[in-house]
Structures are given as C-alpha cells and as structure tokens.
C-alpha cells in the first residue's frame, strides 16, 4: 500500500513539471501584461516608463531566467507576490479556497442526496415512467447553461418572491446564517448539475449489479433479501460515482467562475479569471499548480477508497 502511494506520487512529479512549464509559457504568450492592466484608463505613459515598470516587476527578463527563478522560489514554498496588488499569492489562494471548498462540499452533498436515490429508483424501476421521469430530471440539469439557471433564479426571486439572498460571502464561523443564505443557491445549481451525471452513473452501475445472476436470485426471494441486494448494489455502484467525483473535483474547486461571478462569491474560479484578465502571472501559475496537485491527490485518494468499498480490490 505505502509502496503504491509512493509510486503514484513519484509518477506525478514529471506531470507537475510539465504543468508548470505549460502554464508558465502559456500566460506569457497572451497579449498584454500586468502593466497595461494597471494603467488602463490612465494618463499618458511613454515607452520608457512602461519599460521601467516592467523592469521593476521583473517580467522583462528572459523566459528561462524567470522560470528557473520561479521554480527555485517554489521549492522553498514561496509562491511569490501578485503583480497586480503586491499581496502574497499563497495567502490569496488560501483565502479564495475557503469559499470554493465550502461550495464544493455543499454541492457534492446536495448532489449525493439528489442523485443516489434517483439513480437507484431509476435502476430498480428501469424503463417505467418513473425511470423516464427521473432520467429527464437528471438530463435537464445537463442541458441548461448554469448562467441561465442562475439568472432565472435571481430574476424569479426578485420579481415573484420579492426577496433575494444577499450577494457576497460571509465566513461560516462569523455569520453562519448569512453564509448559508449566500451559498445555498449556488450550491443548489452546481449540485443539480453535478447530480445529473452522478444519477446516470448510479443508475447504470446498479443496473449492472442487478443483472448478476446471484443477485437476481436473491432479489426474487423477498424483502429481507432485497435489502441485502440494495446494500450490495449500492456498494458496487459507489465506485463509478466516486470516480466521477474525483474527476470533477478540479472543476468544482476552480471551474465555477460563472456561478461565482453571478453570485459575487470570492472563489478560486474568479481569482483565476481576474488573474488571467490582469495578466497576473504568479497568481495564475500558483493556482494552476495548487489545483493540479489537488487533482492528483484527490484521485489517489479515490483509488484508495476503492479498497475500502470493495475489499477484493488490491493494489500492487
């Protein structure tokens, strides 16, 4: 087991290096830099002034120098400072991760609460109106753009309910009520979207399990056995569900820029979106590396939980 984990982590090293190299070059290919972002709307600047500002930030140095410098600092755990507002990158990531983490957890919980019962019902009552209804509900969640669901929700609340959750973010330990009020609708939207994929996956894996011969026999025997079967089916069904969640964790933690924008949540998605628009290289690089590490670790964890769920699975 330990050996397996170590091997997986070692294999991640070249991937992470590749990620760092890609993001480092990609951001520098984009037209414009942070100096322009900071000056936009400003007075008149000569080319000399622009060059001086770039020199001060060190973004005029050769690519290789910048990359090596960055990696050396990174090895010491230093993510650098934002070019946009001079704040340490690591602090910004931690601050924004708080919202994203809470939103991700709430969305996953909501998705599980919606998706797993839906998927099981769908499978047990396969090809009945109940199944079709459940599948349509799930599939609808996949077919509406999230900004569209969010906008309709906000407009509906404004016009028909006359009430709107307050936009913004309040940490849960400071003001739990306001925190939940601000996060519940985004979590519902993301959770619904997420539950669509999960419900379909649950349905097909439960179906698959139900088709095993010994299960069929047990199923036909009576209520007690049915409970056993469901328990068994659920255990098996969890594996693909967890796999999907592992694959989606990156999206949940960093890809919710649209929802975060509409609900004014200071999450990772917006930090990234702004950093790209501001050409804030250290922030973009920092987020990308942190997100990639999280992705790799979570997927390792996912693989390890397989063994917990299904003792037959062993790692070599």
């Amino acid at each position: 087991m330990t050996q397996y984990i170590v091997r997986r982590l070692l294999m991640a090293v070249p991937s992470m290096l590749l990620v760092s190299l890609i993001i480092f070059s990609l951001v520098r290919l984009v037209d414009g830099d942070v100096v322009m972002a900071r000056l936009a709307e400003g007075g008149y600047v000569t080319d000399d002034q622009l060059a001086a500002m770039r020199a001060e930030l060190g973004i005029d140095r050769p690519f290789v120098t910048q990359y090596l410098d960055y990696m050396v600092h990174l090895m010491r755990g230093d993510f650098g400072k934002s070019l946009w507002d001079s704040q340490p990158v690591w602090n910004q990531i931690v601050d924004h991760m708080e919202v994203s983490l809470q939103l991700a957890v709430m969305s996953i919980l909501l998705a599980i609460v919606i998706a797993i019962p839906l998927g099981i019902i769908s499978a047990i009552r396969a090809n009945t109106p109940l199944d079709y209804g459940a599948r349509l509900f799930a599939i609808l969640g996949l077919s509406l753009p999230d900004f569209w669901i969010a906008t309709m929700l906000i407009l509906g609340l404004t016009l028909w309910v006359g009430w709107l959750p307050e936009f913004g973010y309040w940490p849960i330990w400071e003001d739990p009520a306001k925190n939940l009020e601000a996060l519940i609708f985004p979590a519902l939207i993301v959770g619904y979207r997420f539950s669509a994929t999960t419900a379909r996956m649950t349905r097909s894996s439960v179906l698959e399990v139900l088709r095993e011969d010994y299960i069929r026999t047990a199923w036909s025997k009576g209520m007690r056995e049915r409970a056993v079967v469901l328990n068994h089916a659920l255990r098996n069904a969890l594996i693909p569900v967890i796999t999907i969640m592992g694959g989606q964790i990156g999206f949940l933690l960093g890809g919710l820029v649209v929802i975060e924008t509409i609900f004014s949540l200071p999450g990772m998605g917006r930090l990234m979106f702004n950093a790209i628009n501001q050409r804030d290289y250290p922030v973009i690089q920092g987020i990308t590396l942190v997100m990639a590490s999280i992705f790799i670790l979570v997927n390792l964890l996912v693989d390890l939980t397989y063994a917990v769920i299904d003792p037959r699975i062993r790692y070599s």
Partner: protein, 298 residues
C-alpha cells in the same frame, strides 16, 4: 485473411443477419423512441444549420428600427434590441453552435483516441511517457486551459472550438486506453498477430472497431458539453464575436440583459441550446445502453 473484414465478435453475429453492422445499428437505434426523437431534433437542427440562408426569413445581422417586437406572424420569435429577427438569428445560430459542438468533439475525440490507441496498443515506455502527458493535461484546470488558449489565439468561434477540443483529449485518451487493454487480452488479437498481421494493422483493423463503443458514448456525451462550454465562454466574453449569432452569445448577452422586458430574446436561444444538448444527451444514454457490453441484455 482478406475476408477478415470484421473482428471475431462480429463474425459470430454475422451468421444471424446479413447486414453491415453500421446499418443494423442505425435500425436498432431508430426503433428506440427516445433515440428516434433525439435523432429527429438533431436532424432538424442540422438541416436548419446547413440551409440557414434559405430557411431564415431575414438577414440575421440586419438591424431595423423595429426593436423589441414580441413574437408575431412576421417575426415568430420576435425581434431583439437592434430590431433583428430572432427566428433568423436562432437558425443561423444553429450553424455556429452545432459547428463548434460537432467539430470540437470530432477533433478532441479523434485526437484523444489516437493517443489512447497508440498508448494502449504499443505499451511500454511510450505508454508511460504518453500517460504522464495525459496526466498533466487532466490535472491542468480545464477553465485555465480554455481561457488561456482563447486569449492566445484571440476570442473567436474557431479559438473556442480548438480550446474545447483540447479539453476533450485527455479524458478520451484515458477511456480508449483502458478499453484497448481489455480488447488486447482477447484471443483473436493474439491470433491475428500469429498470422503475421502488422502492429499498425492490428491497431486499426482489430482493436479500433472494438473500442468504438466507448468512443461513441463519449462523443454523444461531449457534444452536449461542448455546446454548453461554448455558451459559458460567450458569457465570459471569450466566444463567438458579434454580430454573429451563436446561441450562447444571444442568451448570455442581450438575452440575459433584457430578460424581463423582452423574455423572448432569451427564451428562444435558450430553448435551442437546451433542446440540442438534451437530444445529444438522450442519444448518448441510449447508445450507452445499447453499446456498453456490460449492460447489454444477455
């Protein structure tokens, strides 16, 4: 050897029906009511997209002073903030949205399949190296990749298309690679090799047809996703350029802004997106049921 057009699996089935599998498959698909409905929706949209210039009653970018007209006989979907006919814009929008969806998925899945196929079939060091690249791509936050790529190439329909395609590559590669491993374990591959078939021939003649099922399922699932990603990119200002009508742009731009005063500006493009995504997803569901061997009724 030359008569070996189909791989082992198919050969046994050929005794039952003398129809090429593609045709047989389509007929089976058409008998499923959900799949049939999806196919009809997709067919109508593709026709609208192909013949938009003839189907649309107005020039989709021609402005007029008849702004914010609610739906009527002369403007079935109403007009927008610049007096353009929304019906015509939605029809022309099909061209852009479907084009982005289909081409990006074809490119992404084809690219990913080649990577997965080569990686899985060749194995060894090459597989190890390619998988590290795929790992890196998977770990790379998709949103960063799309936004950065679109920024580099300049926001346009084509950039969005390429960016979406790249996002689909690593996932496809993973799925195809593991499918290849399953197929490779089969006896007929060993048989083909012992009969002197080249590796390339084995890869494309024997392995590829047998991993088509997961690829098809991926295609239908990705198609809906691609249309939604294009819409999200438009919301962020990274997608299709005005005055060109893409569904995502219509919905996220003025459609969203005037939703209260002129809801038709959002309803019709929104409906078009939902129908298209719904159709692709439902088709995908049916395909999965029919193609996934583990789910196939015995």
């Amino acid at each position: 050897m030359a008569t070996q057009a189909y791989s082992g699996n198919e050969l046994t089935q050929r005794d039952r029906a003398y129809r090429p599998p593609a045709l047989r498959f389509t007929i089976r698909l058409g008998k499923n009511p959900v799949a049939a409905a999806s196919l009809v929706i997709i067919f109508i949209m593709v026709i609208a997209a192909l013949f938009a210039d003839y189907v649309a009653p107005y020039d989709p970018i021609s402005v007029s002073r008849d702004t914010f007209q609610s739906p009527s006989l002369s403007h079935p979907f109403g007009t927008d903030d610049l007096g353009r006919d929304l019906f015509s814009r939605v029809i022309h929008g099909a061209r852009i949205s479907l084009f982005v969806g289909i081409v990006s998925v074809v490119l992404g899945v084809a690219g990913g399949s080649v990577v997965g196929l080569v990686s899985g079939a060749v194995g060894g060091i090459l597989d190890l190296l390619m998988q590290r690249v795929v790992d890196a791509m998977l770990a790379f936050p998709a949103i960063v990749l799309t936004m950065a790529l679109v920024s580099v190439f300049g926001a346009s329909t084509m950039s969005a298309l390429v960016a979406i395609a790249i996002v689909f590559i690593p996932g496809t590669a993973r799925v195809v690679r593991s499918a290849v491993f399953v197929v490779k374990a089969n006896m007929y591959i060993e048989a083909a090799r012992s009969m002197g078939a080249s590796e390339l021939r084995i890869m494309f003649r024997h392995i590829l047809p047998n991993v088509m099922a997961p690829i098809l399922i991926l295609v239908s699932a990705y198609l809906g996703a691609a249309i939604l990603i294009e819409a999200s990119l438009s919301f962020l200002g990274f997608g299709t350029q005005p005055p060109n009508p893409s569904w995502g742009l219509m919905l996220s731009g003025t459609g969203r802004r005037y939703m209260e005063e002129a809801p038709w500006m959002a309803i019709f493009p929104g409906l078009a997106i939902s129908l298209a995504v719904l159709a692709f997803n439902m088709l995908g569901d049916v395909l999965r049921d029919m193609l996934d061997p583990r789910l196939r009724a015995r």
